[in-house]
Symmetry: D2
């Protein structure tokens, strides 16, 4: 399946994110989040949040999915779906935290990368630029 085909049916990605949410390791917050990341060449990687007793080494579902993809050679991405909740139910919209937006900014085109946020009744769609305007992008350092 191409990335374009998946983008025509975002619920495919949302469903993968829901499955991934079941693997979440969240013994401290009890909030479970799942993500499904689509690369430009049509592959999908999933992630969940993984917490840590010391809090700051915790990683979110979005970053888990991106780390998996990058570690397997992917470098350009089309979209990500994110769902969150408690006890396996989507209880609201969980927009990505600032850390995850920053990690997206490293690899994703602000104007074309799509973020699908699952809600109890459907999903919302944002571009990365809508979520991280005036971003601190790699060009800030690489331009030296």
């Amino acid at each position: 399946m191409t990335a374009q085909t998946v983008l025509q049916t975002p619920t495919l990605l949302i469903d993968r994110a829901k499955e991934a949410m079941q693997k979440a390791y969240a013994p401290y917050s009890h909030h479970y989040v799942g993500a499904a990341l689509l690369s430009e060449d049509g592959r999908i990687w999933t992630g969940c949040n993984i917490e840590n007793a010391a809090y700051s080494p915790s990683i979110c579902a979005e970053r888990t999915a991106i780390a998996k993809a990058v570690s397997e050679g992917a470098r350009s991405f089309a979209a990500i779906a994110i769902v969150g909740g408690r006890e396996g139910h989507i209880t609201g919209s969980f927009p990505p935290c600032g850390v995850c937006r920053q990690v997206m900014a490293e690899f994703c085109c602000p104007d074309t990368f799509l973020v699908f946020l699952g809600t109890p009744t459907g999903f919302e769609t944002h571009t990365l630029r809508e979520l991280l305007p005036s971003g601190f992008f790699p060009s800030a350092l690489q331009g030296d």
Copy 2:
């Protein structure tokens, strides 16, 4: 001086951020950043970026200033000024990274908290909401 007075002359904050930039510890990136944070009651805290050989434990100027303020009892803030560059010169606009926006979101009102970004010739002004729309705010967890 009250917070309101300082906000009428943002260059006061910009100047404090420039001074703070000189304390930056940036042996890996060689980018020096300074910040000056204004609390609602008119106090000012400054910070600089502090890097780490392992990269991820690095902290930005903005978060350094916020950590100082919170550790001294401040909990509500009016504005922050941020300047960055190399070798002590402001070489461009350094918008806050996503991690810092997330930390601002913990303590600052999205609609009234102002971010002054120093540039080589002056400064730009943003609200936190403009920099972190659809943010992941504490209410997401505290609402349980």
Copy 3:
């Protein structure tokens, strides 16, 4: 292959870590690190370091491998191999940073989890407890 079989031949893990190192995304430090994580049930996950322009959202090879494994349901681990260098050559021993040791502490038994550090001529072996004595373990919070 069982975990026990792999542990009898640590170079198997070292070799997987070397392969993973080739996927590293390290445009800022130019240090490339790879890791291969062995779960108790004999599965192997690999990871590489993935840097970020803002530095603190960077992730190390070890944490990438652990995030992959946990997101696919693994929860108990036997060992990890780590290699690092520049331009694809192992240039020294790259012991895990404190952040990665903390993430290991969340999932791994301090006394039995083995860390194999690749060197230009072979490898060294440590237990997690040797690398993180008097650790801040999950029990500190979960005991409430």
Copy 4:
């Protein structure tokens, strides 16, 4: 007071850490931690833990104190005291997390930097090297 004088009476540092603990911002874990950092020239900086709804941008008491000190020009340190608990009472020994040990490694001499861990009845003393053996030190990158 010189650093040497303070080191002869570690309870001075412990007491400062206890005071700092009262400023902790810990609405998620409800664990309160305070730290007091002693520079080689006898100055003391205090810090507390400051949590974040997104967990990973949280900062520990130790790193708050170090960020404050470095941002005010200090670069070499003699010791740190750490105390932790709930509701203002020291409920046990809170050894520093791996992230904080890594940040100490950036600035502190492994063999001489002392870590005083407050306990309900007194304190324990460790060197940084005892807490972070085979550490990933700045020399790993700066040696290039």
